[in-house]
Every structure is written in C-alpha cells, then in structure tokens.
C-alpha cells in the first residue's frame, strides 16, 4: 500500500508523462503489427501523458510548488549535481500541458487520417518518439538532457517529414531540415560543453546559480550558441524556410506537432537560457535582440505567406509569424509581456493545430493543397469549412476568438513598454504587430476564397466531408479556441501568469533543487494595469442580441423568402452573371490575389523570392551567419 502510494505520488508524474510516450513508441515498434493493438497503444500512451500532465496542475500551478526530481535518487555530492534531474516549475508545466493537449488531439486525428498510408507502425513509433522528445525537453532539469531530447525530436521530425516520401519535395524538405537542424543541435552541444567547462555542472538550476556571476568570453559564446541552436528549433528567422518546407511535406497531424509544439519547445529553450541560465533579460540590449528577431520573424514570414500558393506552406509561414509574436512579447521582459506571449503560445498551438488539421482534411479528400486548384469546398465540406473559419478568424485576431485576446495583450505590452522605457522603437513594434495582424487576415481571406468559397472545380464534384473522428479532433481545437478567447481572465490567471511569475523567480528555481539561489539576479517584472478594456463575453452577448434583433427583423420582412434554383439543369436566371456569357468555371487563383499590394512591393517580393533560393547551402550559410552575428552581439553586450 505504501509502495503504491509512493508510486502514485505526484513527484513521479513528470517522468511518467515522458516515459509513457517512449514506452508506447517501443511497444508499437515491437508489437504494432496489428492495427487495433497499434491504435490502442498509441491512444493509451497519449491519453496517459495528458492525464499525468493535467494532474500536475494542482501542485505546480495552483499550489506553486516546484518539483525537483532526481532520477535514481542521485542528487548532489560535494556541492555539484551528479544525478540527472527533472525540474518542473509552472513554466515547464505550461509548455508540457500545451504539448500534451496538441499531442492528444493530433493523435486522435491521426487514427483516421493516416489510415490510407502504408507503414502506420513506423508512423506511430516515430510520432510517439517525437512527442516524448518534446515532453522530455520541456520537463528536463538538465542542459544535456535537453540536448538529447532536442536530438530525438529533431530526428523524429525529420523522419516524419520524409514519411510520405513520394510526395513532392518531402525528402528534399527532410534533408534540408536535417542539415540545418543538426547544425543547430551541434551549436547546442558546443554551448553545453563550453558551459560545462566553465562550471562543471549540467544541472539547469546549478548553472543558473553559477553562470551569471562568472561571465567570461566562453560563457558569452556559449550563450550565442545555445540561443541560435534553440532558434533553429523554433524556426525563427533566418530558419523559417525549413519550417515551410517541412510543413508542406509532412502529414498534417505531424505539422500540428511541429508547428504547435516543436517550435514552442524552441521558445521554451530560449526563455530558459535568457531568463534563467544567463539571467540577462534585465539588459535592454538583450530585450532588443529578442524583440528585433521576433518582429522581423513576424513581418517577413507574414509577407512570405502572402506570396504562397500552397495551403500548408502558407500555414507554415504563418506559424513562424505567430512565433514572432510570442518571441517579441517574451523579449519585452515585463510581466504583462511574458504573460501575453505565453497566452499567444497557447492560442497559436490551438488555432494553428486547427488550421493544419483542416488543411489535412482538404488534402485527405481532394488529394491536393494547391490553392490554384481548389475552390468551392464549402458546399461539399460544410463542417470543415466552419471549423477552418474559426481557426482563420482566430489567427487573424478577430474578436471574440482567442487570437484577438492575446494580440490585444501583446499590443498593450509593447506599447506600455515603449511608454515606460521611453524608447520609440517599441512603438514601431506595436505598429508592425498590428500591420502583421491585418496581413494575416489578408492571407486567410485568400485561403478561404481559394479553398472553401469561390467556385467548385469540376474535378472536385465527388468530394465528401471527412470522417467523424477527424471532425471531432478539429472540433476539440475549435472549442478550445473559442473558450480561451471568451475567458481571457481565466487563462491569464490560471495558466500564463503563474508561468510568467515562474520565469521571474529564478531564485526559487535554483533553491528548489537544493542550491543556494541568493546570488541570482532578480529580473524585475514590474506591475501592470491594462490600458484598455475588453470584455469578450459581454461583447458576444451584445452581438448575439443584435444579431437576433437583425434576424427577427429580417425574418419579419420575409428575408428568407429567396428564389432558389429548383431545376437540376440550371435555369439561366440562377447562373452567375458573366457579362451575359454562359456560366463556366472560372476561379480567381491564389496567386492572383492582392495584386494592388504585391505590385507596390514587387521589389521586396522578388528580393525575398531570390533569397529563399531553396539551396541547402544558403540556409546553412544563414545559420552560420546568424550564429556569427549573435555571437558578436553577445560578446559585446552581455
């Protein structure tokens, strides 16, 4: 009984949450020949992982504990950490919860989505490996273990990118991702090694205790290496082309993980090293670095997305653009900013997951994601259309969906930062963020017109709605999008603010593992008040009343009395107006949209097109150049 109680103590839950995924992976590799066994194993392990993460909410977020867990009870000897540790504070758990939710939904979706592919066993093995890697990385309390988990997830992600290796560009994308991803991993490893050489420890808490007091050239270089290394995992500029390639080729359920979770683990790594390891976020220059990269990411990627004509590739660029928002907000180093950034991280996982699943549904039914070949699917796939629209409106920040709530906080945070620091540069960031938001809307208008509205191409007449399981998975995301949008106070109070508070209490993080944290540099969060007001529930209520009033008035005026085409052959009265000609198929292609905008920026767009040359050497060069610049920067300012 005592043993059982011991085993079920929440202290062990972090490792359980990681291990069930890896166990699932091994078991499927070993016994996954049977389809039913495989599905049950996969579902069991992702559900168990989700449950273990959810059970951690009570101690970690509500009671504010930090779980320090030494594997094999090897802890500290001679003042140095000798064991492998897991350390779960609210920040880690926040990302773990995000990961667990996305993994669960995308796993449910996979069951039917992947049913037409061969090698499902390998798919689930790799899929659970990827999930386990993400989980392990965010819960780890050890820098080297973070590296190993990063390697595992990079590997699984590369393999899954190339999973449909007959699809156009899948293997190419995987190779590019592998090369640059491994360069990033190498950077992380070199950074880890250099930190170890200086401090003789790998434990994050102890590093946080020792590093900030002993800054020298080696640790500064290590900072740059780690920063760029985690940057490749988050796909921030200049690594965004890899994300675009990988998402375009990977199955949609994997894209959900790559965009919703893998990029977040990169962001998590960046937060860990900047806020904890080096405790450098108090420096204005370091804030500048993060905010600059974030703003460039969000703007460059949204413009790149406007120029795309592949559904999933477009979504991939948007995903980096949204990561730019997160990074910008995180880089502000205010309580409001960090909370807003983390809120946006949740929302990004939800709506981008939803959008990728919708894209996957379209691909599953039509066999293509080329925007120039699709159209009019709203009449064939009404539920998918509604779910897609929820996602599209969320990402464009249209109230009352969740994207708006977090963007609203981000604008406030950037503008407040500008006012507090007296730096007009942050004002520019607010403007860029607002413009990016409307450009996001533009590209989703393009998608919804070229995929779901407009005219149905004759060859898509036989398309059907996707199966219930896939719609159910999308429905979960859509519901969460609405809930997190309608109750921003709940989300900030119970998820993002504890996580943000954890990021600002380095001392507690160090002391939770039994080290002396008194020397930790306290980064001041500052207090904040909202400069504006936003009450989504009341707003929605008013909108519903207004809509009801309009509808009643309209129905009273016989608005519903429309003439519909009753005959099958198509009366000319119900044909579209073609200047008098007979109706024929003509759909405005995705490439032709927004000419007025693109024409004015043609120089920019052609420059960008040349820059994203698709040659792996160029991308590798960007990585090296980025490393050189960041290293120079950190050597000067840190």
């Amino acid at each position: 009984m005592n043993l059982l109680g011991n085993v079920l103590s929440y202290q062990h839950f972090p490792i359980y949450a990681i291990m069930v995924l890896f166990m699932g992976s091994f078991l499927i590799a070993a016994f996954g020949e049977n389809r039913r066994v495989r599905n049950i194993l996969a579902l069991l392990s992702i559900t168990a992982s989700l449950i273990f993460s959810l059970l951690l909410i009570n101690p970690v977020i509500l009671r504010g504990e930090i779980i320090g867990y030494w594997m094999g009870a090897r802890s500290i000897a001679g003042g140095y950490a000798i064991g492998i540790a897991l350390e779960v504070d609210a920040l880690s758990l926040f990302f773990a919860l995000l990961a667990a939710c996305a993994i669960f939904v995308s796993g449910v979706y996979s069951i039917q989505y992947m049913s037409r592919d061969d090698n499902e066993k390998e798919y689930y093995t790799l899929y659970l490996l990827l999930c386990g890697g993400v989980m392990g990385m965010v819960l780890s309390g050890d820098l080297f273990n973070m590296f190993i988990m990063v390697e595992i997830l990079t590997f699984a992600a590369v393999a899954l990118t190339a999973f449909r290796n007959t699809a156009r560009g899948a293997v190419e994308a995987a190779f590019k991702y592998l090369v640059v991803g491994c360069m990033g991993s190498t950077f992380i490893l070199v950074g880890t090694a250099m930190l170890y050489a200086q401090t003789h420890t790998l434990n994050l808490a102890q590093l946080a205790q020792l590093v900030p007091g002993n800054m020298n050239t080696a640790t500064k270089a290590a900072f740059a290496l780690l920063f760029v290394g985690f940057g490749t995992k988050a796909f921030i500029v200049p690594f965004h082309p890899l994300a675009a390639d990988a998402h375009g080729a990977a199955p949609a359920s994997v894209s959900v993980i790559i965009s919703g979770v893998l990029t977040k683990s990169g962001i998590y790594g960046i937060i860990r090293i900047t806020y904890f390891l080096f405790q450098s976020m108090g420096l204005g220059t370091m804030q500048f670095l993060l905010v600059f990269i974030g703003s460039v990411s969000m703007f460059v990627c949204v413009t790149m997305a406007l120029a795309q004509h592949d559904f999933k590739r477009l979504l991939a660029f948007h995903s980096i653009s949204q990561i730019g928002y997160v990074l910008t907000a995180v880089g502000l180093c205010t309580a409001l900013g960090l909370s807003a950034g983390l809120y946006h991280a949740i929302n990004h996982t939800l709506f981008k997951g939803l959008l990728f699943l919708a894209a996957g549904a379209v691909l599953h039914e039509t066999g293509t994601t080329d925007l120039n070949k699709l159209g009019g699917l709203a009449r064939k796939m009404p539920h998918t259309t509604v779910l897609f629209l929820i996602g599209a409106l969320s990402i464009s920040g249209v109230p009352p969906f969740n994207g708006f709530a977090s963007k609203w906080l981000i604008y406030q945070a950037t503008y407040q930062k500008a006012v507090e620091s007296g730096n007009i540069g942050f004002l520019l960031v607010t403007v860029i963020a607002l413009i990016t938001s409307v450009l996001t809307l533009a590209s989703f208008v393009k998608v919804s017109h070229s995929v779901f509205f407009g005219q149905l191409p004759p060859e898509l007449e036989k398309v059907k709605e996707v199966s219930w399981g896939m719609r159910f998975a999308m429905g979960i995301f859509a519901l969460l999008c609405i809930v997190t949008g309608l109750f921003p106070n709940l989300v900030t109070t119970y998820l993002t603010e504890p996580a943000a508070a954890a990021a600002f209490s380095v001392q507690r993080y160090i002391e939770a593992m039994g080290f002396d944290g008194s020397a930790a540099v306290e980064i001041l969060a500052g207090s904040f008040r909202y400069a504006g007001v936003w009450e989504p529930v009341s707003w929605l209520l008013v909108l519903c009343i207004a809509l009801l009033a309009v509808t009643i008035a309209a129905l009273a005026g016989r608005y519903d009395n429309v003439s519909l085409c009753r005959t099958a052959a198509g009366d000319s009265k119900y044909q579209l107006f073609y200047g008098g000609e007979e109706q024929s198929f003509s759909q405005l292609g995705g490439d032709d949209m927004f000419w007025g905008f693109k024409h004015n920026w043609r120089g920019y767009f052609s420059f960008m097109h040349r820059l994203h040359s698709g040659i792996v050497n160029d991308y590798a060069l960007w990585a090296v150049a980025d490393l050189a610049l960041v290293m120079l920067f950190s050597l000067i300012v840190l």
């Binding site: 009366d571 000319s572 009265k573 107006f577 200047g579 008098g580 007979e582």
Partner: protein, 147 residues
C-alpha cells in the same frame, strides 16, 4: 403599411441596367447624358447599376444582333422581379436601318415582353427621361401586383 411603403419606394428608386445589343453607341451616349448635371435623372432616383442583379429597369439599345440575342435574354432573365424592359432608340423596336440584315435577330419584342419603347435615333434625353419615368410607374404597378 409596409407593402404600401415598398410599393411607393419602388416607383421612386428605379435602378437601370444598360445592355448594348449591337448599338452604334449613339443611344448609349444619350443614356449617359441623361445622368449628367444638365438633365440629372438622379433627382428621380435613377441610378446606373453595375450588375443585372441590382437592376429594376433593363435598357436595351441596338438592333439585337444574332450574336447578342442569347446574352441579352440571359442577362434579362437574371434581373430579379419586378423588372421592366425599356427599349431605347428605334433599333430594338424595328431594326431601324439594320432591318433585314443577315445578322439581326430583332426586334426584341419577339423574344421578351417589352414594357416601354422610347423611339428616336437617338432619342432626346427628355424623351428618355419621360420613358424611364413611365417605366418606373409600370414598375410600381408590377410591384403592387406581386404578393
């Protein structure tokens, strides 16, 4: 009461859609001149609509060539009820100088019921306004007959 209001409004807000069925452009220019400051048909509520779906009155000019006939009929059928058809100039009524030509399918009244004919080559703007005002009146009556 609403029915009355709608009926009254229908007579005061007729929107035009102009179809050129092979016209020499004389009537087209005259139709536009009706909207210029000198004649200003807008004071009666007339407006040129861009799409047949918005129109109440279809103004057809030209002798209705064989090429244009199906297009004219299709476009007219796309105008929502109640609608009025006005022929402008002599061509759509009789064929005018083009009568008997191998390519002319007119007159228009062979194919659709025409409500108002405005004769002339080209009709004077005053005549056009008069004809359109008459069409507006017919429109109002048609609306009154609708349920």
């Amino acid at each position: 009461m609403f029915k009355k209001l709608i009926e009254e409004s229908t007579g005061r807000s007729p929107w035009l859609f102009h179809i050129n069925a092979g016209s020499c452009n004389g009537c087209d220019i005259e139709l536009v001149s009706v909207l210029t400051p000198r004649y200003d048909a807008e004071r009666l509520g007339f407006k040129l609509a861009g799409s047949p779906r918005h129109a109440d009155i279809v103004v057809v000019t030209g002798p209705v060539t064989k090429q244009s006939l199906p297009r004219v009929l299709r476009t007219i059928s796309q105008v929502p009820e109640p609608r009025c058809i006005v022929t402008m100039g002599s061509c759509p009524q009789s064929g005018n100088v083009f009568r008997g030509s191998y390519s002319v399918a007119g007159p228009l009244s062979k194919y659709v019921p025409v409500d108002v004919d405005v004769a002339g080559c080209a009709p004077k703007p005053e005549a056009v306004i008069d004809g359109l005002a008459l069409a507006a009146k017919i429109l109002k009556e048609k609306r009154g007959r609708m349920k």
